[in-house]
């Protein structure tokens, strides 16, 4: 009945399932570390703030889908400029050149030019595009608002701006078809001969002319809207799902492990005490645990979340309330056996305190079992939290996997074919659960000789 940790590890090494569980766990922990390192905490607090996701596309599939189909869906591109500057007499000119080799089989959904400049006077901003066929189209030229003292100015030019559409109207005779109802990006990226995409090298130029002081450009970014983005795509609210899924990993591990450790700890103490004390204490403690055991978990969890609160820490607490009982029952029956062993009786005869007997003599015997049941409790806790979140009763400020699935079902992702929003969170839940089940199963085989066959 007694095992040293070294013996357990020796046996564990031979369990293929156990090792694969450990490998998955290590990967998950690495993912959590990557989440902590690469995505700053502030970024993750902005998960529910729509304004921080403006530069992202709406409902975009992962970009790797293009590898699996002949027709390439336009990718959402955020272009960085090459900068040049020169002096034309008294006029200072700054050019930001955005190069894009456009090889997709569809038109971009829109484009946005974002800039912030610090200047005095009233510089002129010109946006033009050179097409692969050598033709240059002037899109827009705006004078930035006049200012006497040096001011920072932040603004955006949208492809939907009326000015751009009006300016494009000047090139009407180049095109062999009428583009009256087409939006500007469809005109710019189209062949002259027919309404089809023209592939090749496009050059966007943003030129800033200033007669007075030299302006400093602090930000200059061209976003070419597309329908695929990043490794995991984006959701309806333009959020990058890779960020949500990555952050979901430490959250799930936190929820699962905290619940499991707390429940096993509580259950062990409760069960061991009841078993050690025996008689009336045992009877009444066991009846109480029977009551908790027989309660329907999910309905009560829902009521607790609705009436008391949805904070992630509260939810962890609620799940603990319902998951310590199983451990308590088993550790009670194990304690019943152990307390009659001679060394425990000897300790009692020597007049050792009850507390010391329980913690020093009985507890260590139960540890292997406790470890196994901790691993087995984790998936249940993760699924319970995911279920609550899916019903909309989770902590809305954290992107847990259940929360992402809840958002997906709210936006009816299934009917709109947004598989990249539904599949990955569920797979992550299952894989995390499996890892712990594997480890728990391997541990169980070691500590539970009945299963050794």
């Amino acid at each position: 009945m007694s095992y040293s940790s070294k013996e357990i590890w020796e046996e564990f090494k031979h369990s293929k399932i156990g090792i694969s569980g450990i490998v998955i766990l290590v990967i998950l922990f690495l993912l959590s570390i990557i989440a902590f390192v690469t995505i700053p905490l502030d970024n993750f607090k902005n998960w529910n703030d729509p304004s921080s996701w403006l530069a992202y596309p709406k409902s975009a599939a992962p970009s790797w889908v293009n590898y699996f189909q002949s027709e390439k869906i336009p990718e959402h591109l955020s272009l960085k400029p090459e900068s040049f500057s020169q002096n034309l007499g008294s006029v200072y000119m700054h050019t930001d050149l955005f190069n894009v080799n456009y090889q997709y089989d569809g038109f971009p959904s829109d484009f946005i030019y974002q800039y912030s400049v610090e200047y005095t006077g009233s510089p002129l901003l010109q946006l033009s595009i050179s097409r692969p066929d050598g033709k240059t189209l002037d899109l827009v030229s705006v004078a930035l608002p006049f200012t006497n003292s040096s001011t920072a100015y932040h603004s955006m030019l949208f492809s939907t701006d009326g000015v751009i559409i009006k300016n494009l109207g000047l090139y009407k005779n180049l095109y062999n078809f009428s583009f009256d109802n087409l939006s500007s990006e469809k005109i710019i990226f189209s062949k002259f001969a027919s309404d089809e995409i023209l592939k090749g090298e496009y050059k966007f130029r943003a030129k800033l002319y200033s007669v007075s002081e030299k302006p400093t450009i602090m930000e200059s970014k061209l976003i070419l809207g597309g329908k695929v983005y990043g490794f995991m795509g984006t959701d309806e609210l333009r959020r990058d799902l890779a960020v949500g899924l990555l952050w979901g990993t430490p959250l799930a591990l936190f929820i699962g492990i905290t619940v499991a450790v707390a429940s096993v700890f509580l259950g062990l103490i409760y069960g061991t005490y009841a078993g050690y004390k025996g008689k009336l204490t045992d009877e009444s403690m066991m009846r109480f645990s029977d009551i908790i055991y027989a309660m329907p978990t999910l309905p009560l969890l829902i009521i607790l979340a609705v009436t008391i609160g949805k904070s992630i820490f509260l939810i962890v607490g609620f799940i603990v309330i319902f998951s310590w009982v199983g451990v308590a029952k088993v550790s009670r029956s194990m304690a019943l056996q152990i307390k009659n062993l001679q060394y425990v009786e000897a300790a009692r005869l020597m007049g050792q305190k009850e507390r010391i007997i329980i913690f020093k003599h009985i507890f260590p015997q139960l540890l292997p079992y406790a470890l196994a049941s901790t691993a087995i409790l984790v998936p249940a806790a993760i699924t319970a939290e995911a279920g609550l979140s899916f019903l909309g009763l989770g902590d809305p400020s954290f992107p847990t996997w259940g929360q992402i699935l809840h958002d997906a079902s709210l936006s009816s992702a299934a009917s709109r074919g947004m598989w990249w929003w539904i599949l990955p969170p569920g797979i992550m839940i299952a894989v995390t659960g499996l890892a712990f089940v594997f480890v728990g199963h391997a541990m169980d085989v070691i500590v539970n000789p009945k299963l050794r066959r």
């Binding site: 009551i291 009521i303 998936p379 699935l405 074919g417 569920g426 839940i429 894989v431």
Partner: protein, 350 residues
């Protein structure tokens, strides 16, 4: 301890659980309950007064009217006992008594399909559908599970055995509702074979209603069976493996009895008690999870009702549902206990 005494003890514990759950529910929703009740009383009085034209004519100023309503309101609150907080013994006692006698009151927002707002009516209407879905699923799961489990147990270590165990572990890691969403995605939108929403379009009075209901039940049923039978087969397999190692099986083998006959008629019979017990328990477990499953499929049963009630915070329905779900849960646990004790006398003597 005799069997009767054992039964009585279990029954008392179960009743205690029911009361405790009820008490916790009332305690959790009590404060909100009071506020909502008072608000609805006030609204009711205001409506009565404004509809009563002759009475309205007797008020000269709006202060008079306000004072009258105020007075009426206090009288009504006193009459209903709402002047005392919900945690006074009388009010808790009264609330528990009402619920015990299945008087759940009227729902605040939700109504049944036939238009009744009585919580009892709403639940009675939804209950058969939940029972239909979950007992059918449990029946199918147990048949597939027992056969698969028996095959796996007869060939321990074979490919079938390993695949069944692997499937059991993997399928139990996926949340049921997620697989539901996935199946809806595949079979309702990518290949539109089954309807996405499990609520039938035809009204319940239509003769084709039952047929339509069964058609709409397919997808939730497939989901429940798909995720259920694996772990069930695993349980059956483990029980059977235990039985197959007993001496009497070896004796039968030595006597030359057909291996199939040993498996299906002798071993299965001996493994039946724990299997039946787990069956009853799994039925109760799936009922508890019905809230999410039914919400995903929009299946018009008890679980969906609970989900709707939570969304609009319809307290009488929440309390009634919790009571009935707990009662269901307890009855199946009780049946499981009794069956186990009946088959295995050692339990009673503990």
């Amino acid at each position: 301890m005799g069997f009767k005494k054992f039964l009585a003890k279990r029954a008392i514990t179960m009743f205690g659980v029911l009361m405790a759950t009820l008490l916790i529910t009332i305690a959790l929703v009590g404060t909100n309950m009071d506020a909502i009740l008072k608000k609805s009383v006030l609204a009711e009085i205001q409506q009565q007064v404004t509809n009563d034209k002759p009475l309205m004519a007797t008020f000269k100023t709006s202060e008079d009217l306000q004072a009258y309503i105020e007075k009426q309101y206090h009288q009504r609150i006193l009459a209903l006992g709402l002047d005392q907080p919900w945690y006074t013994p009388q009010r808790i006692g009264l609330a528990m008594y009402k619920i015990l006698t299945l008087d759940f009151g009227h729902a605040n927002f939700l109504t049944s399909d036939s238009g009744s707002s009585e919580v009892k009516d709403i639940m009675l209407e939804k209950m058969p559908r939940t029972i239909l879905l979950f007992t059918t699923a449990t029946a199918i799961i147990s048949v597939i599970g027992i056969f698969l489990g028996a095959i796996a147990a007869s060939k321990v270590g074979s490919i079938i055995d390993k695949m069944a165990s692997g499937f059991a572990i993997i399928s139990s890691s996926f949340p049921v509702w997620w697989v539901g969403v996935l199946l809806i995605f595949v079979f309702a939108f990518v290949y539109p074979v089954f309807p996405a929403i499990a609520t039938p379009e035809v009204p319940p009075t239509d003769p084709g209603y039952l047929l339509s209901l069964l058609y709409h039940m397919t997808l939730p049923l497939i989901t429940l069976v798909l995720l259920g039978f694996g772990s069930w087969a695993y349980i059956v397999r483990n029980f059977l493996v235990g039985v197959l190692q007993e001496d009497f099986v070896t004796a039968k083998r030595a006597a030359g009895i057909d291996e199939k006959k040993i498996l299906y008629s002798h071993a299965l019979k001996n493994a039946a008690p724990p299997i039946v017990t787990v069956l009853a328990l799994s039925l109760s477990g799936s009922l508890g999870g019905s809230v999410i499953t039914e919400a995903v499929f929009d299946w018009p049963g008890m679980g969906k009702l609970y989900y709707d009630a939570i969304n609009v915070f319809d307290l009488p329905v929440i309390i009634g549902e919790t009571y009935v779900l707990t009662a269901f849960f307890l009855v199946s646990i009780f049946i499981a206990d009794v069956l186990y004790a009946y088959f295995d006398p050692r339990i009673r003597r503990e």
